[in-house]
Symmetry: C2
Subunit: 157 residues, 2 copies
């Protein structure tokens, strides 16, 4: 199975830790993980794992949009903590309509969490998990764990 | 040999990736690494390495101040990207006057880089490496590499 992990802009301190965490979880579930991000976010992931223990492929978020096809992936997992990240997530979902998609929406401001969740809900069939968090990765991690455990059950059925 | 890595507040997105990077480099140089940070920064490091490949001990930055003694460590490496981080670095250096100390000062604003570097220079004998960087970890990584390569030569002599 193949999973596409979409990262947003790098200014949220919990994004890079959560990216490594998600790569690890998805790998344990049997997915080959491709991370799609801008160059700054990719550099942070690279520095985060100097010995490359957490295996994944890296692609540029803009270039990859021109190449990707629906049949390339079994799962899209997107980190949505900005307008632009929501837009990217929606664009990828539009290109891969039949692929299972999960949006992990997080922000320190709960009105922004609702705003981004609504943006995603209006334009995709994605499962949306919401978390009011920024510095502290634990609420985001717990939400992701729940969504991935549910997915694991779906995959087994 | 033992190294103490001091982290600052967790809001800088490059801090956690650079912490893992530094743990890895120091371990390769033969140091046992202890990371001293506040609970939020520690959680980010933990999520960043779910399989615990990058070995280190964790201590709370406030509690540890009451316990630490000069003879406990051979190296202090501090990430200084805020007033409070500079103050912690200086406090630890004051408690361990004979220990080799390196301050890695980084901020997106070069006047803040200078301000924090001066704070550290006025109160410690630490080697100070400065980097105008925030999202992009590469300038910080390159500065750290240079300082650690120099330290490696000193350790070999």
């Amino acid at each position: 199975m193949k999973a596409l992990l979409l990262l947003g802009c790098p200014e949220v301190p919990s994004q890079t830790p959560m990216a490594i965490y998600a790569i690890d979880k998805l790998t344990d579930m049997g997915y080959d993980v491709t991370v799609s991000s801008n160059p700054a976010a990719a550099k942070l992931v690279k520095v985060s794992d100097p010995k490359k223990y957490y295996k994944h492929e890296n692609v540029n978020i803009d270039n990859f949009l021109d190449q990707v096809e629906g049949s390339d992936f079994d799962l899209i997992l997107g980190f949505v903590h900005k307008d632009s990240a929501a837009t990217y997530f929606i664009t990828y979902c539009t290109l891969m309509t039949d692929v299972k998609a999960i949006a992990l929406v997080f922000q320190r401001d709960s009105s922004l969490v609702e705003e981004y969740a609504q943006m995603v809900a209006q334009s995709t069939d994605a499962e949306i998990i919401k978390s009011k968090a920024y510095h502290n990765p634990n609420p985001i991690r717990v939400s992701l764990d729940k969504a991935l455990n549910k997915l694991k059950e779906e995959n087994n059925n």
